[in-house]
């Protein structure tokens, strides 16, 4: 059903007092049917009243403060936000009344208030004519005053850029010159952007208009008629971008992209055509799927978490990733992998549980309209991409949805995707192992590497000795020189432990410093043993202990002695030497000591393999 028809029905419903139901139907229609600019405008105008009548408190207040008429931008904005399930209060400031409008705002308390500041180059100068230096300074100053006023009122700022409509009298090739519109807009934008305070978001209108084409974005007729210089298409497209920046400012971008496989990441059905028979590379269609994979991979590197939801036999679904050399995405690019024959909504729910990110942060991309509809209906908070028929248009469809627009990207964003991938894979193995800890540990493919402490590791060893609290037997905070002395003692054993598993490298995560007992040359005394808490409960300590036993034997020792000294934090390991098979000789509250007779001693089992 068209949005227009749904709006007609909604009018009737609201009239009959069923405004809540009407609102829900309009939202569903906006989510599942592409709306024309006129439909967005009418939906937004109706929403402005219906939300109030329906008693829905707006979550965000947006002030459109423009140097052109923003009435139609406001209605479209209202509609695209409601499509995403967010009720806005849109305030359309009086035309070209920037500073006064912001100055009149009350201090924002509670719900976020955003001021979207929209310049218009034509207010500064006759189009094509160079503006005076005073005019340029005045314009810059005006925006800066508005920022200052907004900050004082706890109002967030989205500053839109200037843009040119036509190259002007200089023509296309000289338009960037000083004094021409293109050059003026660029210089103003540079200055604005440089001065933009932290926390304020920048909306590059030139990118938005350029994407649609200025010919289709701007409209001189509307400018002359009502100071509305944007076409309906331009208005709708700008509204999408304003919304994406407002959303980024208020709640942040979407975090998770869930992908289908057959005819989404590759052409054809892997269950029929086999992992090497699918379309990938080598043809126009295959190249399109590869390009889409490439885009998804780059999103992942930017910090977007990827997951798979496919109706397939799991083994079939995984095979292309393992054997097809044309695949850009690999299994370890995904934080979760759901391949079975149950509903996709269930897959998304499970992915959400696995990676512990709410469904409201999810975007779903699937070539099959029936699956999209199932997810739309079952999971109203998930953004469902309207996927085009031609895979060549996939990248654009995903990018145009503006789901992942952020105002800044941090290093933490980039690392996040990787961490989620590793964590989720470990947990999924834990589940697959069906509760058997042994099977899980085995499936981790852990490899341990024990080495004598050397110069290169000294700093890290010293650092761990100085700061490790929980998994620390004696918590002796040795000076660097003391560690060096123990490492250089030919009768001592000073070891480091490194661990990797299928999902990642943990680095140096354990230290043992053992010295000969001055009173008994046959006993090696474990002065210090510590491990990083990141690797506990994985039989890593058993592996490390085994290595110590071997070295003690090689040096001719007959006994090992282990000590636990109580601190506030190390109860975790108070019984470990007993579990390893030691015989208690001191059983105090503050200090416990065990002895291991090495003759005939078998250390406990470990699932860590020695690194090659």
């Amino acid at each position: 059903m068209s949005v227009t028809q749904v709006l007609r029905d909604a009018r009737g419903l609201a009239k009959g007092g069923h405004t809540a139901e009407a609102l829900e139907q309009v939202r569903t229609a906006l989510r599942s049917t592409p709306a024309s600019p006129g439909e967005l405008d009418r939906a937004g105008r109706w929403l402005g009243r219906a939300l109030e009548e329906g008693g829905i408190a707006p979550a965000v207040e947006v002030h459109l403060v423009g140097q052109f008429t923003t009435s139609w931008l406001g209605t479209a904005l209202q509609a695209v936000a409601w499509r995403a399930g967010v009720a806005l209060e849109v305030v359309d400031a009086e035309f070209d009344n920037v500073v006064q409008h912001v100055a009149a705002l009350p201090r924002a308390e509670g719900r976020p208030v955003v001021a979207v500041l929209l310049p218009w180059l034509g207010r500064l100068t006759t189009p094509g004519a160079p503006p005076s230096a005073d005019a340029v300074d005045g314009a810059l100053q005006q925006w800066q005053v508005a920022w200052q006023l907004a900050a004082e009122r706890n109002v967030r700022v989205v500053q839109a850029s200037y843009d040119h409509v036509l190259p002007g009298p200089g023509g296309y090739h000289l338009a960037g010159a000083l004094g021409e519109d293109v050059g003026t807009a660029r210089r103003l934008d540079e200055a604005l952007r440089a001065a933009l305070p932290p926390g304020a978001a920048w909306l590059d209108v030139g990118l938005v208009s350029g994407d649609l084409g200025r010919r289709a974005f701007y409209d001189a007729r509307g400018d002359h008629l009502a100071r509305q210089p944007l076409t309906p298409e331009g208005t709708a497209w700008l509204a999408e971008h304003v919304w994406s920046v407002v959303r980024a400012t208020v709640t942040g971008p979407k975090k998770v992209l869930v992908l289908d496989l057959d005819n989404t990441l590759w052409g054809g059905v892997v269950g029929d055509e086999g992992p090497l028979g699918i379309q990938l590379g080598e043809s126009a269609e295959g190249n399109a799927f590869r390009a889409f994979q490439q885009h998804c991979r780059l999103l992942s590197q930017r910090g977007i978490v990827l997951a798979v939801a496919s109706k397939n036999n799991e083994a079939d679904a995984r095979e292309p990733f393992e054997v097809n050399p044309d695949m850009v995405l690999k299994l370890d690019d995904f934080a979760a992998f759901q391949a079975h024959w149950e509903p996709k909504s269930l897959s998304l729910q499970r992915i959400s549980d696995t990676i512990r990110i709410g469904l409201e942060h999810f975007v779903f991309f699937d070539d099959n309209p029936a699956e999209r509809e199932q997810v739309r209906q079952a999971l109203p908070t998930v953004e469902v991409v309207e996927v085009p028929e031609d895979p060549a248009a996939y990248v654009r469809a995903l990018q145009e949805g503006l789901y992942f627009e952020a105002t800044a990207i941090t290093e933490a964003d980039r690392e996040r995707a990787q961490q989620y991938q590793q964590e989720a894979q470990r947990r999924s193995l834990e589940q697959q192992a069906g509760g058997s800890l042994e099977a899980y540990l085995q499936s981790l493919g852990m490899q341990g590497d024990v080495r004598a402490v050397d110069e290169a590791d000294l700093q890290r060893v010293h650092q761990l000795v100085g700061k490790t609290n929980q998994w620390n037997m004696t918590t002796r905070r040795h000076a660097r020189e003391a560690i060096v002395a123990m490492a250089e003692d030919p009768r001592g054993v000073a070891l480091t432990f490194r661990l990797t598993d299928r999902f990642g490298d943990y680095g140096l995560v354990g230290v043992i410093l053992a010295v000969p007992d001055p009173e008994d040359p046959d006993t090696l005394d474990v002065d210090t043993w510590l491990m990083s808490c990141r690797v506990i409960a994985r039989t890593a300590e058993q592996f490390f202990w085994r290595a110590l036993v071997e070295r003690a034997r090689a040096l001719g020792y007959r006994r090992l002695r282990g000590t636990w000294l109580r601190t506030k934090k190390n109860a975790l390991v108070s019984e470990l030497y007993g579990e390893l098979g030691g015989t208690p000789v001191v059983e105090g509250d503050e200090e416990r000591v065990w002895v291991f007779a090495l003759d005939g001693y078998t250390p406990p089992v470990t699932w860590v393999e020695p690194a090659p």
């Binding site: 006129g38 009418r42 109706w46 509307g222």
Partner: protein
């Protein structure tokens, strides 16, 4: 109403002004429609452009005395 262009104009009018009781005749004017101010006038004509897939010139929408004239203008551009 046998004029099918006027009938479509009437439907656009109902959708834009959110009033399903609007009934247009050739002599209906802006005054007969609640909320027909200068902004909504533009909204209305832009909606007509979308409905009929045409574009009005700057001068054409300035002085249209009644809906009959609107329907005639649309018809001339179809």
């Amino acid at each position: 109403m046998s004029d099918d262009v006027l009938e479509r104009v009437q439907q656009v009018c109902r959708d834009v002004f959110e009033d399903d009781d609007i009934v247009l005749t050739r002599s209906s004017t802006a005054k007969d429609i609640e909320g027909f101010d200068s902004l909504m006038k533009i909204t209305f004509f832009v909606a007509l452009e979308e409905e009929f897939g045409l574009r009005f010139g700057s001068a054409e929408i300035a002085d249209l005395p009644d809906m009959g004239a609107v329907a005639d203008l649309v018809r001339a551009k179809l």
